[in-house]
């Protein structure tokens, strides 16, 4: 296997290391869902509860759909026990109900007493008594109910009320005896009155929902309340679309570049990139020495493992990319799945398709006559200007959505085939590496990447927090939106959040919080929940980033810290599109070098691969002023993330 094969194997390792991830758990039926309406006309639905941060495009419109019935059920289950009806009241209701039920028996007993009297008056006493006992048991709760609903009334008034309601009922009916219809009406009337009282006591406050949304920008440590139709009166901002492909060096990155330059001077040359990195970080964060030590060691391992393989990037720039691709095709052909896919792959690689034309990278070496003498920022600006003007490179044409769309179907088919091929390809590469090169660093590099990712995870979040990029915000500290209202669940509770009305300076990797609070009347039923949305730029995006690089000249062993300015582009498939995301970005970097003591200004230009959202960059390039030993490798970490962050400290 030639070096290109090693690069392929290394990238395969990187992809395997970065692109994996467990499938999301099946979505539960949830009372609130989002519909993301994307700028390209696509849409997708998702739920976000549970703290899982969901990525949304920073130019999308989010509809927040509330399932009122499901939410009302949730509120019911979370509500404190329904107001308790006073025991006495409930007892009266129960007794009146029982009395009402007993009227039929009493009526029958009364008839029996009449019959008994008619048969033998002198022996009717028991029958009369039985009728009377049941009847008095009916009248007792009636009297108690009337008395209870007339607190404070005189006994005369209560007697008058009893007589008004039931006096005629106890008086003789047509055939003598009690008028049971009147008695039943009287009991039912009291029950009705008590029922109304109980309904009042039992009245469950109307369930409602409050929704608050906040933008957590990287330029502020506070949450900005966002307007939500119906829920608050926050002013609606002007609509702005974030340009995702930026072909210019931002002022912010220029400032960061200068800050990295000052740090680089402080650090000085080191024997290893890890040592240099550790010194920089430890100076800033002495309390995190152990974590930084681990990160530095992991970085050192990554650098050591990647350095040899990245040497092969020279091959890309030497115009031998077709050899590399052909080698990959040959590997694919070696499998059954590969034979099925061959035509697709060949079509994809057709230079006429204009999707990826690596040979265009060769053109950049021609700039060596024009770039020397410029600062790295100036040189990168020149490059980007050229890219924009001539429409070349992973560039203008490939960054256009319509071009990508035209090939989407074939790419999807290719992606599916590649997935099928993963095993055969891996086996083939392993065989080649094992038999022809006696085992090579691909597995080692893959392991190094994994170790670096593990070490970077906690440190990265911590650095981000310290840099103020995503400062820790307590939910309780978020300001109350103006005119915040509760929307009853009996009405339409849907709303929408237009991300295009966020500040035009919004960028990827910022967050939007959507807080849901459930209420029963004015009472908060539970703490609700907060959905976290991470702004991302889907589709093609490109930007310039500054970072602190540790550069090692080919053939030398020392690492020199140098600020680097990079332009990196990546493609993120829209969520739900079926596309497979490659968690890498590709681009160019410029840096000031000092290879020669004779030359005052030396400019380096390097092909660059970014990982972890460009938090770490790897690159290989040339000193444009040198003619011999001009190659260099660099590894950088972009740990200063904003003008308000560590760069200013």
């Amino acid at each position: 296997m030639n070096p290109h094969g090693r690069v392929l194997a290394s990238l395969a390792g990187l992809l395997a290391g970065c692109g994996g991830g467990a499938s999301p758990p099946p979505q539960e039926i949830h009372p609130v869902s989002f519909v993301e309406r994307q700028e390209d006309g696509g849409e997708r639905s998702f739920v976000a509860e549970g703290g899982r941060r969901v990525e949304v495009d920073l130019n999308s419109l989010l509809e927040i759909r509330v399932d009122e019935n499901r939410l009302a059920e949730r509120i019911d289950s979370g509500s404190p026990a329904s107001p308790t009806v006073p025991t006495g009241l409930q007892d009266r209701v129960d007794a009146l109900g029982a009395a009402l039920d007993a009227t039929e028996e009493a009526e029958a007993l009364e008839a029996s007493a009449f019959r008994s009297w008619a048969a033998d008056p002198r022996s009717a006493r028991s029958a009369i008594a039985a009728y009377a006992r049941v009847t008095t048991a009916i009248l007792d709760p009636f009297e108690e109910a009337v008395e209870a609903r007339m607190p404070g009334a005189s006994s005369g008034a209560r007697e008058a009320e009893l007589d008004r309601i039931l006096g005629s009922g106890l008086a003789g009916g047509p055939r003598g005896g009690i008028q049971w219809g009147v008695v039943r009406d009287a009991l039912a009337g009291e029950l009705s009155l008590l029922g109304a009282v109980m309904d009042t006591l039992r009245e469950v406050p109307r369930p409602g929902i409050q929704i608050r949304a906040y933008y957590l920008g990287s330029r502020t440590s506070e949450g900005l309340p966002l307007p939500l139709a119906g829920y608050n009166d926050e002013p609606v901002g002007e609509r702005s679309v974030v340009e995702k492909v930026v072909l210019a060096v931002s002022e912010e990155e220029r400032q960061l570049y200068d800050a990295y330059g000052r740090l680089a001077v402080q650090v000085g040359a080191k024997s290893s990139a890890g040592a240099a990195l550790r010194e920089v970080l430890e100076a800033e964060f002495d309390q995190r020495r152990a974590a930084l030590q681990e990160l530095a060691e992991a970085a050192e391992g990554l650098v050591r493992s990647a350095a040899g393989d990245l040497e092969a990037l020279r091959g890309l720039l030497d115009g031998r990319v077709n050899d590399l691709l052909n080698e990959m095709v040959e590997a694919l052909k070696a499998s059954e799945a590969g034979r099925r896919t061959e035509s697709l792959v060949m079509g994809f690689l057709d230079p006429g398709a204009g999707i990826i034309d690596f040979s265009l990278l060769q053109g950049f070496s021609d700039l060596s006559q024009t770039l020397p003498g410029q600062s790295p920022a100036g040189a990168l600006s020149t490059l980007l200007h050229l890219l924009d003007r001539v429409g070349r490179i992973p560039s203008a044409s490939t960054l256009r959505g319509d071009v990508w769309e035209a090939h989407l179907d074939s790419l999807r088919a290719l992606a599916a085939s590649v997935r099928d091929l993963e095993g055969p390809v891996r086996n083939e590469l392993t065989r080649l590496i094992g038999t022809e090169l006696g085992g090579l660093p691909s597995p080692v590099l893959e392991e190094a990447v994994q170790r670096f990712l593990r070490a970077a995870a906690p440190v990265r979040g911590w650095l981000d927090d310290l840099a103020g990029r995503r400062g820790t915000l307590l939910l309780s500290d978020l300001p109350e939106p103006r005119g915040q209202r509760t929307i009853p669940l009996a009405s339409q509770a849907d709303t929408e959040l237009d991300l295009q009305r966020l500040p035009p300076t919004r960028t990827a990797a910022e967050d939007v919080l959507v807080r849901f609070t459930l209420l029963s009347g004015d009472e908060v039923v539970d703490g609700g929940w907060t959905d976290r949305l991470r702004l991302k730029a889907f589709g093609w995006s490109a930007r310039t980033v500054a970072s602190l690089a540790f550069i090692r000249r080919s053939g030398r062993s020392t690492y020199v810290p140098t600020p680097v300015l990079s332009w990196v582009a990546r493609y993120r498939p829209w969520p739900g599109s079926g596309g497979k995301e490659i968690p890498l970005s590709f681009g160019l970097s410029t840096a000031t070098l000092d290879f020669s003591e004779e030359k005052e200004v030396e400019l380096g230009l390097a092909a660059t691969v970014g990982i972890l959202d460009d938090w770490a960059l790897l690159g290989y390039g040339w000193n444009l002023q040198e003619t011999t030993e001009r190659g260099f490798f660099f590894f950088s970490i972009r740990f200063l993330t904003g003008p308000g962050g560590l760069a200013g400290s």
Partner: protein
């Protein structure tokens, strides 16, 4: 049934004695030559449509002073209103006031009957 005994003759005494001596009758005795007694008797009569209920208004002073019912009154004077309600065993179950409503009178009859 309502009995207004305004004479102290044998017929009146017989009615009174039969009623009081009946094992299955509830008897409300009424006396008193005062304003309102007639209204009371009317209300009581309305509550005595059951054949085992008797309302006996002793209008004649001799019946009040000397008859089978005289022993149930606390005062022998006809000037004073009294309305003792007698149970099956001719025991005084309650004494109703003159302003007792129809409901209260009917309820009193039932209580007396239930206390068999």
């Amino acid at each position: 049934m309502l009995h207004i005994l305004d004479t102290a003759d044998a017929r009146s005494r017989t009615i009174l004695e039969k009623s009081l001596g009946h094992p299955s009758r509830i008897v409300l005795l009424v006396k008193g030559d005062v304003e309102g007694v007639g209204s009371f008797v009317t209300r009581a009569s309305d509550m005595a449509t059951q054949p085992w209920r008797d309302v006996i208004w002793l209008k004649h002073p001799d019946l009040v002073a000397d008859s089978a019912g005289s022993e149930y009154f606390e005062s022998p004077s006809t000037d004073d209103f009294e309305a003792p309600l007698l149970g099956f065993r001719d025991q005084v179950v309650t004494r109703l006031p003159m302003d007792a409503t129809g409901f209260r009178i009917g309820r009193a009859f039932l209580d007396a009957e239930a206390a068999e």
